[in-house]
């Protein structure tokens, strides 16, 4: 039974429970009061109504999973970074459980800060920038299924939407747009420069990433996550397409703005890059979305290259998926803290001159494998 049917069942049970109240009220009151309550009960129990609430419940599920994963990622980042830097990470925060509650503490701190809007900033753009950024990332997350029966963006039959991988990448690529809006509407020439640099970096690394993903689509034969993952039951795509996997990881690091490619945020001359003028929870949104995009990248890498949820049947499939995504994230974190930052012209040089030919080469390899009939 997949997630959609599970949520449908829960909502149906809940609606039946509440309908006891409505029907009892319908019996108590005579005349048209009673008819009114009966009609309400019938409306509540109708199929369309339950579908609406099922979708809302699924949205809640995806939000909870995403937020918990992001908090876990931040915790792992800080502890792993701590051990690499030869200190403990967060240790005593309230209880001595390893400092997971530090995330909650940081969230509370960001909530109580004052939200300042610069006087001459463009109000609509300033407000909408983080909103677009966060919502497009969550949308991208919703299309990735965590298990055979655990897809979130599904149609009423419980199967995934067609071309879900293409949708994921489309949503993922809305980000440069939101960054440009945020950087420009802050009314600060340095954030504008930072926003433009960031947008340029993201756009120039989209192309090798999409070429690599195109090679995966070629081998799997469809745009759908379910089909791609089932095509990997024999061998993971990371092994024949090793070059593509490496290119995909590098492009991922550049998309999520993690060192060594985090020039727009931590450059010495632009204090925080395009997020300088944001304060309080708006800044928290950007930070959270940065880690969320890291999680999405890890999930995409797992689904496309590392076999998704295939694994020994001891552990349920979504947990396998999450374990693989976490491993990809840990490797990225390892690389993050080991290298210095790349200069902006060298960065664009790498993206256009070095990665694109390699991505073409990868596509050639995939095409030749497909014609030889191995997949």
């Amino acid at each position: 039974m997949n997630l959609y049917e599970f949520c449908y069942g829960i909502i149906h049970w809940l609606v039946d429970l509440i309908n006891h109240l409505w029907y009892w009220l319908g019996n108590v009151f005579p005349w048209w009061f009673g008819d009114f309550f009966n009609a309400v009960g019938d409306l509540a129990a109708s199929h369309g109504n339950i579908v609406v609430f099922t979708i809302l419940l699924e949205v809640l599920v995806i939000l909870i999973i995403a937020v918990i994963n992001v908090l876990n990622f931040i915790w792992i980042d800080r502890k792993f970074m701590g051990r690499m830097f030869d200190f403990y990470g967060p240790y005593y925060v309230g209880f001595r459980i390893g400092g997971w509650l530090q995330n909650i503490a940081d969230g509370i701190k960001l909530f109580v800060k004052e939200i300042i809007t610069p006087a001459k900033a463009d109000k609509i753009g300033f407000y909408l920038g983080p909103v677009i950024f966060v919502s497009s990332s969550f949308l991208a997350l919703s299309t990735i299924p965590l298990g055979r029966n655990f897809g979130i963006a599904t149609n009423p039959s419980g199967l995934g939407v067609p071309a879900s991988a293409l949708m994921a990448f489309a949503f993922f690529a809305i980000a440069p747009f939101a960054i440009l809006i945020s950087g420009w509407s802050s009314n600060n020439k340095y954030t504008l420069i930072g926003g433009m640099r960031s947008a340029a970096q993201m756009m120039s690394y989209e192309i090798p990433m999409l070429l690599t993903v195109a090679s995966v689509f070629l081998l799997a034969g469809s745009f759908d996550f379910m089909d791609i993952v089932s095509a990997q039951h024999g061998i993971w795509f990371a092994i024949p397409l090793a070059l593509g996997f490496v290119i995909f990881l590098v492009c991922l690091v550049a998309e999520v703005e993690i060192q060594p490619f985090d020039l727009p945020e931590a450059e010495a001359e632009l204090v925080e890059g395009w997020t300088t003028e944001y304060s309080g929870m708006r800044f928290g949104f950007f930070m959270m979305t940065s880690y969320l995009r890291g999680y999405i990248g890890g999930a995409l890498a797992t689904a496309l290259f590392l076999g998704g949820w295939h694994g020994p049947a001891l552990i349920p499939e979504p947990i396998w998926f999450l374990i693989k995504a976490y491993i990809v994230f840990v490797v990225i974190e390892w690389m993050r803290w080991s290298t210095p930052r790349v200069r902006v012209d060298q960065l664009l040089n790498i993206g256009w001159n070095r990665l694109m030919p390699l991505a073409m080469l990868n596509l050639l390899i995939a095409a030749s494998m497909k014609t030889m009939g191995w997949f």
Binding site: R83, M84, Y88, L243, S338, T339, N349, R354, L355
Partner: protein, 302 residues
Amino acid sequence: MSPKKKQSTFGFVLRPMKRTGAQVWRSLIVGKPNTVLYPYQKLDLPPTYRGKHTLDFKRCIGCGNCVQICPNDCMWMEKLEDPELGKIERPGVDMGRCLFCGFCVEVCPTVAIHETVEFELADGDREKIKFGPKELRDDAYSDKIVEERQKRSVPVLDLDKCTGCEKCAGECPEICIAMMPIESVGKSKPEIALPKCTACGKCVVVCLEKALTMKDMYESYFDLPEPKIILVNCTGCSACAKACPADAIYMMDMPGTEKTLKDGKKGKPKKRAVFVLEKCVGCGRCFRACKFNSIEMPGVKK
């Protein structure tokens, strides 16, 4: 520019990653990280560490050398009443200005002030870190630590008891005692050349009046200023003798200066100040106490 071939990229990014991975192994799986969980665990500091000061009231003679040598004017002398010691002056330290340089410890002639390893002195109020002498008092600290300053035994003269018999000068095997005449007094006093003295103690034994005693004095590495008397101006008021913390000034009668009073009797003779420079700690209190400009001490402020 970077040749992004597969081998060279891997090689050049993997070498730092090998090191950081080894560090994670060492700090997570094999051992502990390098930090301590302050304030639950604290590090041990070496005994030479310079932190908050400690004052031994009994050893301190109230000379004020520490106040003078402080480069930043952080110390002051405070007049106190102590039940055992009477009316005394002891120094206090303003930790807000203190450099923790350790000069006050080095210049103290009796090693009465020490610097402990306590460094957690932060407070929200600036007045609270001005420590007066009572807050710094710890009379037992000197027994807890290993003393670093070198001590030597030297014979110390009590000029009230000395008769000028010259036996000590004759007995000294190193010939470091010279009998110098005291101007206008007629007697002579022994002056001991401390660099040559070997602390054999023969001069102490031979003195009939017990004017010489062997005392342990701490070595001073600083060249401290010495006072010189200008005899013409000295009126014998004995302000310097009362001010001296080390009992190095004695008032002696000058014979032949008695005035004849109206009824024919002879009055008391005038006094003059005599310095026993082996005991002098160079604090300059005599210089500041004399109102008749009869003490010359270069380098000390009024």
